[in-house]
């Protein structure tokens, strides 16, 4: 508890720097190449195209979902995945890649995952605008269900920022952990129902486990807004599950932070 208050205090003290660092982190990623900002879109576009192609033509599985073309159903869950995927591995590597802030200057470690997460989230915001644009082009205009988007966006941001602290601390001390996270990322993608509906799984216990998977909950939440037009209060079970997992994540992050923040500068 004391550690949590300390972390929050550090965030308040450094609130101005967080914004500046998030921006710098963003600019750093995309500067230095001729296409620059375009790279923020190239990867998502290519990935989504590949999956859409494979499902629609290769597997012939891409039928309409809830009256929406498969393509739209796919991107509704894929766009949040890009942020989540970036955070799973990038969050784990965030302290390592900002090593100089830990070992060369006075700077609170707990801030690093926050600004890394915010910079990736701002890319997500731009992709969201693009996605809403695509829906409009297909003739599906924003409706009242879009109002609940901020809830799911905030849930996603909160969860993966805390994950960044947890995984960043552990990865800073152990490269094995970082490698583990990186290799599990693909698995999470295929297991979490980004490209299929987890409700279609026949085996109940698998469905039960996945109902606690934050990646699944967020992707499903986005689809509630865009595709199946469900209110979050009609699906309170997953919100409850999300917060159970979230609290466990917070406890894990605080444990890792408390245990390691004094050692990390010496080890790195």
């Amino acid at each position: 508890m004391k550690t949590l208050i300390e972390i929050i205090k550090e965030h308040i003290t450094y609130r101005k720097q967080i914004g500046k660092l998030a921006l710098a982190n963003l600019v750093k990623t995309y500067r230095g190449s001729a296409l620059g900002w375009a790279w923020a879109f190239v990867r998502p576009v290519v990935t989504i195209f590949v999956f859409w192609f494979a499902f629609s033509f290769g597997l012939r599985a891409g039928g309409d979902v809830d009256g929406f073309p498969f393509f739209l159903w796919l991107i509704a869950g894929f766009i949040p995945w890009f942020y989540m995927s970036e955070m799973i591995s990038g969050g784990a590597g965030c302290i390592r890649s900002n090593k100089f802030m830990v070992t060369k200057m006075k700077f609170p470690i707990s801030i690093i995952p926050t600004f890394v997460s915010l910079s990736k989230f701002s890319v997500h915001l731009i992709l969201m605008v693009v996605m809403i644009g695509i829906f409009i082009v297909f003739g599906y205009f924003p409706d009242v269900y879009y109002l609940q988007l901020p809830i799911y966006m905030l849930m996603m941001l909160m969860f993966f920022t805390v994950w960044g602290l947890f995984a960043g601390m552990l990865s800073a001390i152990s490269k094995d952990f970082l490698n583990l996270v990186k290799s599990v990322r693909q698995a999470i993608f295929w297991l979490s129902g980004i490209i299929y509906n987890v409700q279609n799984i026949d085996i109940p216990w698998i469905r039960a486990i996945l109902s606690y998977n934050p990646v699944t909950i967020v992707a499903t939440g986005y689809r509630h807004c865009f595709i199946d037009k469900t209110w979050f209060f009609e699906d309170l079970g997953s919100i409850r599950n999300f917060f159970i997992v979230y609290i466990i994540m917070i406890i894990g992050a605080i444990w890792a932070y408390k245990r390691l923040y004094k050692d990390i500068p010496d080890v790195m």
Binding site: K16, Q17, K20, L21, A24, V27, K28, R31, G32, F100, M101, V102, T103, K104, M105, K106, F107, L170, I173, S174, K175, D176, F177, R259, L260, K262, D263, P265, D266, V267
Partner: protein, 241 residues
């Protein structure tokens, strides 16, 4: 009487040496993992007052850098207490912390922002930093195009012009060419004359130390061997070597 700027109260720093990184990771979950302790700082106490100039002497591994790191708060003591009052600027590794894709000017803003200055505050010292670094047109070029000497000059210019209350210099005066070194010395002399900046200096060069500091601390194997007037400290250190 001036206020104490830095107080070390019975400070010990021990590094835990594990057999390998795997053992270190396992130690997170189990207290049974064995490790050796290497005490680099062993029960040190001293007080440095505001405006004082103190030189640290000692052979490699005596604990000088560790003490400075702990003052900069990038390293934590294993036991004991450290109190630091005032903004610390450390000229430890000058080229660290630059963003290679950013221009020199952007790096000035970024670095000052991280240290807690607002854009308005940076604007006031920006020109002074640029003049001091003397990079010409390169100031608006990405730092990755800089030579190592240019990076060091920019780093020095930033750190010395942010108006620190505690200035730490770790043999950084040997960057750049002769003209730049003279400029650095002049700047430090100017800061020392103002008398409100606490100055900590790690060096092997006795004549510099004598010029900037009135007090010397000699370290040996993590303990203070001598703490007193600079001349006696230098004499003691030279006898040791």
């Amino acid at each position: 009487m001036s206020q104490p700027a830095i107080i070390f109260n019975n400070v010990t720093k021990a590094y835990k040496l594990y057999r390998n990184d795997r053992a270190r990771f396992l130690s997170l979950f189990s207290r049974k993992v064995r490790y050796k302790e290497n005490k680099v700082i062993n029960g040190i106490s001293f007080t440095i007052n505001e405006g004082e100039g103190v030189a640290f002497f000692g052979r490699n591994g005596a604990g000088k850098s560790t003490i400075l790191k702990m003052i900069t708060e990038v390293s934590w003591p294993t036991s004991g207490e450290i109190t630091v009052n005032g903004r610390v600027s450390a000229l430890l590794e000058l080229t660290a912390g630059f963003n290679p894709e950013f221009t020199g000017r952007e790096n000035i803003y970024l670095k000052c922002n991280i240290m807690g200055m607002s854009d308005e505050e940076v604007k006031k010292v920006e020109q002074e930093m640029i003049d001091f670094a003397n990079l010409g047109d390169y100031i608006d070029q990405p730092v990755r195009t800089y030579s190592s000497g240019m990076k060091a000059r920019l780093g020095f210019a930033i750190n010395i012009n942010i108006e620190p209350e505690i200035l730490i210099v770790d043999e950084a005066l040997s960057v750049g060419d002769k003209a730049f070194r003279i400029k650095c010395r002049r700047k430090i002399r100017e800061i020392r004359r103002r008398g409100d900046v606490t100055f900590l200096f790690v060096t092997h060069a006795a004549n510099f130390a004598k010029e900037f500091c009135e007090r010397g601390i000699v370290l040996e194997k993590g303990k203070i061997k001598f703490d007193g007037p600079i001349e006696e400290a230098i004499a003691m250190y030279e006898k040791m070597v």
